[in-house]
Subunit: 410 residues, 2 copies
């Protein structure tokens, strides 16, 4: 990046968070905090977070893990061992916050409810992430990302308009239910920390209760107000927008998709000129957005007939020249090659001792201008930092750590 | 909610943020902060934020706006007026942070760069949200939510597998590019505030640079590591998951979709028993997840043939009875009627003087347990709080405010 890194520290330097999480949501929350400089202590069972088995592996090591757990310290604790509770409670006074995503009540059953955790540190921040939340009639139901997306309203909308195809609404392709709820948890922790730690603040610990379903619902814009007042049930719009035309994704000769948004009068005129259909400018059925919306299927078909004759590269150049808002629908390959992402450190190689070559990572979001911009290390092997953390925070020596290991506590 | 509200204040009480934003991303960031108790001063042009025209209207008033601008104070400032700069700079010392989402450089052109803003308050936090970010070769390109989703990799994945249908990848139906970048901006502001305001902190103002494209990219899980190491280009999976079967959305007799995830051995056996195909349990082609993935199209078709014979309500009951993870794909109507959402205050009526009845809103995310849980007021009319804010913060009297209004500054 063009920014001057100066001599500042990262924005979350000095913050320590204990993660008792697994899979996606809680680890996503702590990845964001780690990227901004927090010290994350991730508690894993001795066999590791099950997410280590997900996705493509090289020699039994997950590529996703390299990014998902980067910048965190991994310690193993067997939470089912009778001595585990005591060990966790001895770590808590050294931590500002705990983030967890077990089923509601599960940590309490292990003797680690927020109230118990606060006996060890009264002003501790505790964030729970779960499918439906910690209260209410559905709190005990199992849920994962895809359920959160369905109950939150997102899945219904990722579809072609009713009657178009005989196929189910599609998945977004990544677990946005998990990552967005992770973002809300991280945001809630930071809000609570600010109020706790500022001079005029209230000094209190707080408990944060994030549900996957609710995190999705919070993105649904006017869906509820419009349903409540008008009984309008928001419908999926396929590749387009129900209230504007033409705007959609159109196919290229080489199998890519190009977004084109030409739904104003001047943009429509420029697009029709480009595709050689000046006869439609101001013509009945195409005069004004409202008429075009009524004829959007016909319009999309004829734009598609044109776009299919050109490669993606040619289309992007032609549309840019005509000053029509457009962009290629990026694949992983497009993202990796994009000069803007590279210029801003958003696609970068990160050294990872688990692999014989650096691993391609996404960068840090949000950019904190002037802060050191560093991915400190790649996702560690199981328990890499157990000895280091227990020594540093609890003052345990090698013999004491060996005893815990022998007893099966760590 | 079952929680005891106690006598505490909301977590962001005492925080004041100036929003110089429009449309979705910056206003979404400030909606989240307002929901948690911050004092948001939203600067609007005298004709109002263009988002006030979006979506369904009643008597010229937007239903979405009721929720999008709730809990904020609206003041009008004509930023193009020569005296506007001075007015904004006089407000800044009273604010902790500024959040804006104009094109990169536009506020600087108005004399309101972060550096200038910090002449008025040296430790001010400034968050920018833009399509591609404040730096790099594409920084000046126009972008909006849908472009961010395309460049970030999300749009390519919201599709049926290549070759399935001759239709474009679908939009998610809401502007997740905008809302997720708003979340990152709010999170960045809180991180910077914590480091600025805590006793051991660095006391510095920081500038935060959030891009829509990058906010989307940050959710792409293993996409980049797997592409970098193996050249694997992540592909869309339609309604299913490329590595597990059966798991998909299946149609009901009454036109709804039901998610069913039965991709383990016991779940598959239970599902086949339920649909009367015990002959397939352990049969060649269906024995183990790997075989089922290879036959997932056939499997989805026969599960769909069964599901089409039952109503959504019947399917949900049958699947629950058989203990198979499932859920209806919720529409707006399902969400509004859901007992869990109602129990947790996530679907609620909010009084709004702009309408003759209360407006249906989504609730506050994240839940801060024990904090007062209140949507303080619905989205205000343009400039509702201009006089109040200028009086309270700047000590201007009615005559001074009338003069600013006469001069066209506010």
């Amino acid at each position: 990046m063009a920014e001057d890194a100066g001599e500042t520290q990262q924005v979350l330097a000095g913050l320590r968070v204990l993660e008792i999480g697994h899979f996606v949501a809680a680890p996503f929350a702590t990845r964001i905090l780690a990227d901004l400089g927090a010290d994350i202590i991730k508690v894993e069972p001795p066999e590791g977070d099950p997410a280590r088995q997900w996705g493509e592996q090289i020699d039994g090591k997950s590529l996703w893990w390299s990014m998902h757990a980067r910048g965190k310290r991994s310690i193993t604790v067997n939470l089912k061992h009778p001595k585990a509770r005591e060990l966790i409670l001895s770590l808590v006074p050294h931590c500002d916050a705990v983030i967890e995503n077990f089923r509601p009540g599960q940590l309490a059953k292990l003797g680690l409810s927020p109230e118990t955790l606060r006996t060890a540190r009264p002003d501790l921040i505790v964030a729970h992430i779960s499918g439906y939340g910690q209260t209410g009639p559905y709190r005990d139901r199992a849920a994962f990302g895809v359920i959160g997306e369905a109950i939150g309203g997102l899945r219904y909308l990722t579809d072609h308009p009713p009657g178009t195809v005989d196929l189910p609404p599609v998945r977004v392709g990544v677990s946005v239910g998990d990552s967005v709820s992770g973002l809300y948890a991280a945001l809630g922790v930071l809000a609570a920390l600010w109020q706790r730690d500022r001079a005029a603040g209230d000094g209190r610990g707080r408990t944060i209760d994030v549900a996957l379903t609710e995190s999705m619902l919070s993105l649904m814009e006017g869906m509820l107000p419009e349903y409540g007042a008008l009984g309008k049930v928001k419908q999926p719009g396929g590749g387009g927008i129900a209230t504007a035309a033409p705007t959609n994704a159109y196919p290229s000769a080489d199998g890519a998709w190009i977004l084109i948004a030409a739904n104003s009068e001047p943009l429509f005129a420029r697009l029709m000129t480009l595709i050689g259909r000046t006869d439609l400018i101001g013509a009945p059925g195409y005069d004004g957005n409202q008429q075009r919306v009524a004829n959007s299927a016909t319009l999309d078909a004829l734009i598609g007939d044109w776009s299919r004759q050109h490669s993606a590269t040619a289309l992007v150049a032609l549309l840019e020249q005509a000053d029509i808002p457009s962009s290629k629908v990026y694949t992983a390959a497009d993202i990796a090659a994009d000069p803007q992402y590279r210029a801003r450190g958003m696609v970068r190689e990160v050294a990872d001792p688990g692999f014989d070559r650096p691993v391609l990572h996404g960068g840090v979001v949000p950019h904190m201008v002037g802060d050191p911009d560093a991915v400190r290390w790649a996702g560690p092997a199981i328990g890499t930092h157990t000895g280091e953390v227990l020594g540093e925070l609890l003052g345990l020596d090698d013999a004491a750590i060996a005893a815990l290991r022998r007893d099966g506590v760590i």
